[in-house]
């Protein structure tokens, strides 16, 4: 028996038998199917919800309430001509969509979507896999998924996609840091990397949720960073359709485009689920004391919480304009990373003792003051008398520094 397996799931405590392999296969198939169906529903939900917000009707022709619209669109896309630009790097061009979609699937595998279930005398965790590296897998996969975007943009052999892939790589690297830092905060209080333990540690009442016990800040940072990782509005500079036409998937058509589309929504769902896992106790919630219903309520709670976040993304899209690329970088590097680092120090301090917590708090406040001063100094170097011109030559706003050429002092 492999000790690695036993660690991850009590299912394997007594060795691996045919039944257990069957259970694992069923879990994978059900998980895959659930995710695919969720994607179809999510696309429909997004279109419907955003239509309501924009006083439109949205899809209504296919199936009840237009539920089958996504299927119709998928079929239409499959029937379209699959174009590969003449300048494209054919192998990479074909590879890229899969590099986007596979990490989206893998990340979902570690999300606990319910408590436990008894099947054929075995206790089964309702999650596809519970590897010891747990949540790090999600970080790794979000790091990998950028390759799909980058390579798609590069291999198209066209300029807008290339700009998009440059933006994608910079954006992902910038926000990965803040994302990782908030996850570290969660891991610090949990003391374990596995998603199962993270969820277990938040069981009990609502005060145990990481949202509350870590303060709201890590959640806020995580929400912002994950939205940026997802390329969802208002951080969708990578595929900004009004600037870069379609970004990395400008040159894609037919089923390859459908795969990108699918992956985006799959990621939205997965990341909502990860957020619920990390900060909202996953499937935790009130369970009625009825023996046969015990397993279904956690799943319901999980679905409700995830749907709320999916809705949040739609809401963002309807309400917010898009960031500019450099503002995005500013937010990532100058705000989120220092904030998450400081908050991590404070949480770590309080985990040792309250003295250390207060000490760390004061250190962070001091560092914050220093940082603020540094930013101020940087500002004066942008506009003061001894200012450093930006390398590109951005024009100053009239009134602050007026060009002097006509006054004759040159």
């Amino acid at each position: 028996m492999n000790p690695l397996l036993a660690l991850s799931d009590p299912l394997f405590d007594h060795g691996v038998t045919g039944v257990i392999i069957l259970i694992v296969l069923i879990k994978i198939v059900v998980g895959f199917g659930a995710l695919m169906n969720a994607v179809i529903l999510m696309i429909w939900f997004e279109r419907k919800a955003i239509s309501d917000m924009q006083s439109r009707i949205g899809p209504q022709r296919w199936g009840p309430f237009g539920l089958l619209q996504t299927m119709a669109d998928g079929l239409k896309l499959m029937g379209k001509e699959d174009l590969i630009p003449a300048e494209a790097d054919r192998f990479v061009f074909k590879l890229a969509p899969f590099l986007v979609v596979i990490p989206a699937f893998i990340t979902f595998a570690i999300v606990p979507i319910g408590g436990t279930m008894h099947i054929a005398g075995h206790v089964v965790q309702l999650q596809m896999a519970n590897p010891p590296m747990g949540i790090l897998l999600m970080l790794a996969m979000s790091g990998i998924s950028v390759y799909g975007v980058m390579l798609a943009g590069w291999s198209s052999g066209s300029k807008y996609p290339l700009l998009s892939s440059v933006r994608a790589s910079a954006q992902m690297i910038s926000y990965e840091a803040a994302l990782g830092m908030t996850i570290v905060i969660v891991i610090l209080v949990t003391g374990s990397l596995t998603t199962h333990d993270i969820v277990l540690s938040q069981g009990g009442n609502i005060l145990h949720w990481n949202l509350i016990r870590l303060g709201l800040v890590p959640f806020a940072i995580f929400l912002i960073a994950i939205t940026a990782e997802l390329n969802r509005p208002p951080f969708d500079v990578v595929e900004a359709e009004s600037e870069l036409v379609g970004g990395f998937h400008t040159e894609y058509s037919s089923f390859r485009f459908a795969i990108f589309f699918l992956a985006e929504f799959m990621n939205t769902i997965t990341m909502s689920a990860v957020m619920v896992t990390l900060f909202f106790g996953g499937p935790a919630g009130w369970v009625p004391p009825v023996a046969h219903l015990k397993w279904i309520f956690p799943i319901l709670w999980f679905l409700i919480k995830t749907t709320i976040f999916c809705f949040c993304y739609i809401w963002f899209r309807a309400a917010l304009p898009r960031f500019r690329y450099d503002q995005l970088m500013d937010l990532g590097w100058k705000r989120l990373i220092p904030l998450s680092l400081g908050w991590m120090l404070i949480v770590a301090g309080f985990l040792i003792s309250w003295r250390w917590g207060l000490l760390m708090g004061s250190v962070v406040i001091f560092a914050w003051l220093v940082l603020t001063r540094a930013f101020e100094l940087g500002k004066t170097r942008e506009s003061g008398p001894e200012r450093v011109l930006p390398t590109i030559g951005q024009r100053p706003i009239p009134g602050s520094v007026i060009r002097k050429m006509s006054e004759g002092d040159s």
């Binding site: 960031f323 503002q327 930006p390 024009r395």
Partner: protein, 450 residues
């Protein structure tokens, strides 16, 4: 040079031969004259000096550090078929050159083949977002040549319609600007409100766009019954909605970051480039033809000329938003002060007789026949008259040789002139700023290319 690079350049030649617009295109630095380069980086010839000296431009910049990209003619946010060639350093715009003419339909030349009575249908298609104002501009010029006075009611109807048109045009601008910034909801909201005005136009003139409503001698039809109520509803709804836009965009931190301080222009530069409209007013120059050179009855209504301070994108946005409110103010005064009387001149040489009179009067039949076959004759002379369109000063220059058709028709399109400032505004901004800048200049390509 290595072999594959040589192949790439051959390929490039092939491609440019297929799609080249010749000298209009942005060339690499080594093939560009300094004066040309100066224009591309946004040099402005001021009265006493050059704003940017092209000789100081970094001519030695290597071409592999920069990238020339085509934005348009079919790009989602170039507002039609504007084609910009941008030289980028990473994300930042170093040079910009607009290439126009993709919507050129020869409207000015066509205008010389149409009689004065048909002319309004032609000019209304130039700036398709403010058709009434185009017609008004043309009609005012023709009336000046004819030397006729239009009835008081026609003047006020014209004013009402052109202010409603200004609102609808600014609403489309608000919508597309929101879209360019990624705020898709604004797109729908702006068009939703515009729909009210278009419905009123349809009720009044029978058409939603390209109305051919304002004609030399008056307007095509009187206002429909119950127009006061319709206009009241339009004013109330849109005024209320502008405060919703404030919540959605004006106060939105991301929106403010995207707009404030981006693409500034000074009053000096704007005047040197003969920029008009909101772009000029954003620099603080209170130049609004409705106030500075009043036409129609604008001297009889109260309204404020909105000006900005910094000349940046945000100023241009707020000017347009507040002009919607000011226009609504004017529209309300039009409703209150609308006089009674004829809605078109009763001069039978200019205005066709009513349909009912044709069956009764031989004279009416002859007038009708003459007007719609030959048109009316306009005295020899030339005239330039200008009105304030949502985009700036739209002027009409007509030379008449005494016939029924203009000898020469020229329209000063504000979009076309404002487009000159684009290289100056874009310099140093990022690609995203370029999009907002195109948007805040608000070119209508039908008017640019004519």
């Amino acid at each position: 040079m290595s072999e594959p690079t040589v192949r790439a350049i051959e390929r490039l030649d092939l491609l440019t031969a297929e799609t080249s617009e010749g000298a209009q295109e942005l060339q690499r630095r080594e093939f560009t004259k300094p004066s040309e380069l100066g224009r591309e980086i946004g040099a402005v010839l001021l009265a006493n000096d050059l704003h940017i000296d092209p000789t100081q431009v970094d001519l030695e910049r290597r071409d592999d550090e920069t990238m020339i990209i085509n934005m348009g003619p079919s790009h989602p946010s170039t507002h039609g078929v504007l084609r910009l060639m941008l030289e980028l350093d990473g994300e930042y715009v170093l040079r910009c050159k607009p290439v126009i003419g993709y919507l050129h339909t020869g409207m000015e030349k066509t205008g010389e083949e149409l009689s004065y009575i048909q002319g309004a249908t032609n000019v209304t298609r130039m700036d398709y977002l403010s058709p009434v104002i185009n017609e008004l501009n043309y009609s005012l010029a023709v009336e000046k040549l004819l030397g006729i006075e239009v009835p008081e009611r026609a003047v006020w109807i014209r004013m009402l319609m052109s202010e409603l048109n200004r609102v609808s045009s600014h609403l489309v601008w608000m919508a597309t600007n929101g879209m360019d910034l990624g705020s898709t909801s604004m797109m729908i909201y702006g068009l939703r409100e515009r729909e009210l005005i278009l419905a009123f136009f349809e009720k009044t003139a029978g058409l939603r766009m390209n109305l051919n409503f304002v004609r030399p001698g008056g307007v095509a039809a009187d206002l429909p019954d119950g127009w006061q109520d319709d206009v009241q509803v339009i004013c109330d709804t849109i005024l209320e909605r502008t405060y919703e836009y404030d919540q959605l965009l004006t106060g939105q931190p991301i929106f403010r970051q995207r707009m404030i301080g981006v693409a500034p222009i000074t009053a000096e530069e704007a005047l040197a480039l003969s920029v008009t409209g909101p772009v000029l007013r954003s620099t603080g120059v209170p130049w609004d033809l409705r106030r500075t050179m009043p036409y129609l009855a604008y001297d009889k209504v109260e309204f404020d000329v909105i000006v900005g301070t910094y000349g940046d994108n945000f100023d241009r946005y707020s000017i347009r938003l507040n002009e919607i409110r000011e226009s609504i103010r004017i529209v309300r005064q039009c409703v209150d002060m609308m006089p009674r009387g004829d809605y078109r001149s009763q001069d039978p040489k200019v205005t066709p007789p009513p349909r009912a009179r044709i069956g009764e009067s031989m004279e009416a039949l002859i007038h009708h026949f003459k007007l719609f076959t030959e048109g009316f004759h306009v005295p020899v002379g030339e005239v330039y008259s200008a009105v304030e369109s949502p985009r700036g000063e739209i002027g009409c220059y007509i030379v008449s040789d005494g016939g029924a058709k203009p000898y020469r028709l020229h329209v000063r399109g504000p979009s076309f002139v404002n487009l000159q400032a684009i290289a100056l505004l874009m310099r140093g901004g990022s690609v995203s700023d370029a999009i907002t800048t195109i948007s805040t200049i608000d070119p209508v390509l039908g008017e640019v290319d004519r």
